[in-house]
Structures are given as structure tokens and as C-alpha cells.
Amino acid sequence: MIARQKRISGGIGLDVGSTTAKMVRIEDGEVKSRITGTHNWKELVNGIKADIISTGYFRNSVPHKASVTEITAAIYGVRHYFPEVDVIVDIGGQDTKVIDVRKNNFLINDKCSSGTGAFLEFAANYFSIGLDELGLFHRRAERIPDINNTCGVFAISEMISQLVAGYSKEEVVAGMHYAFARRISFMIPEAETIVLIGGAAKNEGMVMALKDILKKKILIPGEPQAINALGALKYFS
């Protein structure tokens, strides 16, 4: 446990999460990031001599000069882009974290897969499409079927029922995004500025559903998946 008072300059931020690893360094004031699968994290630091500031599930399993939890890292990373942030929603591979920056409070859902990236992956696999295609499918939907089951596994059964009932794949994907977003919305407190980070922030279908449910503007930084790696770096700088 390194006290935060210890400043580290010229380091890199390394976020090794449950499904992906992200690396961030700041060059001439510009944030540069790289992303790979968790088990290939070494390729992100090969040949780099700088001190590593780690975060994410594997923060203490990779070599590091200092480490910080992804909750604190998220706050420092998001503030780099949105200093006035009220609430951060971080949708990761295996959990979803909602951080109330104003109240210094956080909630983590890691017990139910239906509000995590794992569920989106599960649904994409079922339709034999890539994760990045879910948003396109959502846009093409003309109707949105109700998918109410909060359990990720049973939601798939419900999606099958909706296909049998005559909804298109696109419409069922849109219904799934609404079910996913509704689940997450229960964790989000009333706030003015909500920032969404994590891999699922790249899924425009899910973002559209969440905006529609919350009736709020949702801000997304340029590379939402690398924010925690950036935050780890900022925390010690």
C-alpha cells in the first residue's frame, strides 16, 4: 500500500480488468491509450521502462510501483475530461460500478450478470454477431419488445420467446438493451452530470436506452474503456 502522497512522474497507467487490459501514458499533454485482452497485458508494457501504476481486478497481480482501486481511478480519470462530474457509471466485463462523486459513495453490482458486459457478450454470442454490431442492430429496430427478467440467463429465454412471437433479431436486441439499461438505472442516483465509462459505453444501443430511461444527458469520454488506466496515472501525479 503506497501512500498517495508519493508522487510518480512519467509513469504509465495500467488497468488489467476481468476481460481487457488497458494502458495509458501522457505524451506532450496528450492521452495515448492501448487496449488488449486481459491475458495479453504484457504486450502493453513490453519495452517500456516507466513506472507502472496499476488498477483493475489484477492490479496487485501485475508488476507495479503503486496501485489504486478502479473506483478511485475512475474518479480521477473522468475528472480529467469532466471536472464537474456528479455520477460515474462504469460498466465493466464482470461488474457495474456506480460512483456518486458528490457524496463519496459507490455501489457495485457483481452478483448479477444482467447489468454487466458479460451479459452483452452472452447476447451477442447467441445471435452470432460481434459486440460492436449490437448498436447497429438496435438502430434498425422498429419496435421494442418488453424483456423484464432481471436475471441474465433467463433474459436469454425471454429473448427467444420474443423471437418466437415474431419480433426481429434487431428488435429483440433493442429490447435486451432496454432491459440492461433499466437494471443499471436502479443503481443511479438523481444527478445533473452522469458520465458513462467502460467497454459497454461503446455500445450505442445501450447508451440510447439508458438516456431514454433516465431522461438525462449522458457524457462519454473519448476512450471510455481507458479512463481507469488514466485515472490511476492521475491519482499519483
Binding site: 498517495r4 482501486t69 473506483i71 478511485t72 463519496n104 459513495n105
Partner: protein
């Protein structure tokens, strides 16, 4: 002389059990280290003691179930134990704190236990509780680790069944010089993880107050009448307003920086979380456990993030 082992499922005045010639056994104490996976469960605490008692893996001659004013699951699981043939008595605390009702409950309990035989034990236990209170204060001042203090204080529910031996153990606790930054209160039912206090300490959190064990050392009395009047202030059995105003004073006295609210899966105390958060003006970390064992990684992440949060304040 055969001394009856009297199982207790929550706080039952141990003074009365010893004074009636019994040896109390808090059936919860074996659970954090238990490897048992109960077949039919809501809360793992009650499900495990129920199964161990029904299957005679935990040896008691009779059982006192605290069925009113604390654990609601125990009311059903206690009946299952009774149906298995273990003599079982159901003990009810008064929700409104009525001392006459409490006194009548203690008289009924005394009858179940065969009547007062050794009233001198009451004074011996009162003296032991003074020692417990000193341990609690020393822990708060950084003279005793929270893990060691918790292990002794939680044992005050049954005094490990042997007053003389327990007195020796409590008196021999080692003193240290511990830095008590990030002072936190642990409220709610005790964590089901056997290493929780040590894990919290290793992550930079110093637990200076354990709500339930504090109840075990603060109630006493010279006879049934006095015991009734003191124990009817057992906060877990009283309305939330009563418990919260008591907590407010204790937290202020101990200068805590934050609160960890431990909740047990499928325990009705989980429902209290939102009230605790809104009424106690401290940063609150709510965690939830289910089955016993060591502290899971997901809980460690929350504890570490909570420490970082306290350091940002």
C-alpha cells in the same frame, strides 16, 4: 456433576444461564470457520446452526431461541430444531422496552433452566464485563488490535462456557501501539468471514467499534429485576430510532471517520440500510456476505476503495 450445555441463537443474558447452573454455547460462534453448505437456506447463520443441531454435529442439551426482537429466521429454524427432539425455549425481547414484560420473560427462562442455583455467578460476570469494557476502550485508543478485541468481545455472549478460563484469556490480551487512522465503526450483524477485522486492518481501516459485541458487554444487573431493566435496552431488539440514537452517541464518542454496515444475505437487517445511511451522518460502506469463509476479493475491493475514499475527505 453434569452441567447442561445451553445453546443460544443470539444474545440471552448469560448471567441467568450460569446462575441456573448451565453452560451457554453461542451456536453462531462455530459458523465463520464452518465448511457446511446448508441445503435449505435464507440466512447462512441460522441455516448452518439449524442443520448442525438437527444433525447433532453441535452438541447441546437444550436450546434457547431468540425469536422476538432480533432474528426472524431463527423463529422457524428454531422450531425445526425443536421438532428434531432438542428441548427448545423461545425467548422474546420487548420491542417497546417494557421492563415488566422483560422480567416475566427472564422468569420463564429461569424456570426452563431449572431455577437459580448459583446467584453468585452474576457478580462474577459483571466483573468480567468491566474487563470487556476496558478491552473495548483500549482497542478504540489503539492499544489492542481490532481483530484481538473482536475475538474476545464477541465471546461475551457465552463467555466460552467457562468463566475462570475466559477471565484468564481476556486478562492476558497483549497491548500494542497501533496507529488508528481511518477509524471505522462496524455496525449490523457480525461479518460471517472469520478474518474480516484483520483484512480490514491490512487494508488500512481500523475498526474502533463493533456494534453487536458492544451489546454483549454493556448490559448487566445484580438480580433478575435489574437484569431485566438493563437488557430491555438491547438495541437490536428495539425500534430503529432507539438504536440509531444510541449509535450516534457511540460513534461521536469514538470519533469515527466512517461506517461499515455489514448485511447478511436474506437477513431482514438488510432493509435497514437506507435508513442507516440517511440518519447517520458519516460515509457509509455497505457490504453483504452470504456463506462463511475468508473475506472474498470483491469485499476487499470495496474496503480498499472505502479507505481511499476516507483519505480523500
Amino acid at each position: 456433576m453434569h452441567v447442561s450445555k445451553i445453546g443460544i441463537t443470539a444474545l440471552v443474558p448469560p448471567e441467568l444461564i450460569f446462575a441456573c447452573g448451565g453452560e451457554p454455547v453461542d451456536v453462531n460462534n462455530v459458523i465463520p470457520l464452518s465448511k457446511k453448505y446448508p441445503r435449505n437456506k435464507l440466512c447462512a447463520w441460522t441455516a448452518i446452526w439449524k442443520e448442525m443441531l438437527v444433525e447433532r454435529e453441535l452438541s447441546v442439551d437444550s436450546l434457547i431461541v431468540v425469536a422476538g426482537g432480533d432474528c426472524h429466521n431463527a423463529l422457524v429454524d428454531g422450531q425445526k430444531v425443536a421438532m428434531s427432539g432438542i428441548p427448545t425455549h423461545f425467548f422474546f425481547y420487548p420491542f417497546d422496552g417494557d421492563p415488566e414484560y422483560m422480567e416475566s420473560q427472564l422468569h420463564r427462562l429461569s424456570e426452563f433452566l431449572g431455577g437459580l442455583e448459583f446467584p453468585e455467578k452474576i457478580k462474577q460476570i459483571n466483573d468480567l464485563k468491566k474487563l470487556g469494557q476496558q478491552i473495548d476502550i483500549k482497542r478504540s485508543r489503539g492499544r489492542i488490535t481490532s481483530g484481538e478485541a473482536f475475538s474476545i468481545l464477541i465471546s461475551f455472549s457465552d463467555l466460552r462456557g467457562d468463566l475462570n478460563e475466559f477471565q484468564k484469556i481476556a486478562a492476558s490480551i497483549k497491548e500494542h501501539n497501533i496507529e488508528t487512522t481511518n477509524r471505522v465503526a462496524l455496525i449490523g450483524v457480525p461479518p460471517i468471514f472469520y478474518d474480516f477485522h484483520d483484512v480490514a486492518r491490512s487494508l488500512g481501516l481500523h475498526i474502533v467499534f463493533d456494534e453487536l459485541p458492544y451489546e454483549f458487554i454493556r448490559h448487566q444487573g445484580a438480580d433478575i429485576r435489574e437484569i431485566a431493566r438493563d437488557y430491555c435496552e438491547y438495541t437490536f431488539a428495539r425500534p430503529l430510532d432507539f438504536r440509531i440514537s444510541f449509535l450516534q452517541k457511540e460513534l461521536e464518542k469514538r470519533k469515527v471517520d466512517g461506517i461499515i454496515h455489514y448485511t447478511q444475505f436474506a437477513c431482514h437487517h438488510m432493509l435497514e440500510d437506507e435508513i442507516i445511511r440517511s440518519r447517520l451522518d458519516y460515509p457509509v460502506l455497505t457490504i453483504q456476505g452470504d456463506l462463511p469463509g475468508n473475506t472474498p476479493q470483491q469485499i476487499k475491493l470495496r474496503l480498499e476503495a472505502f479507505r481511499e475514499m476516507l483519505e480523500r475527505l
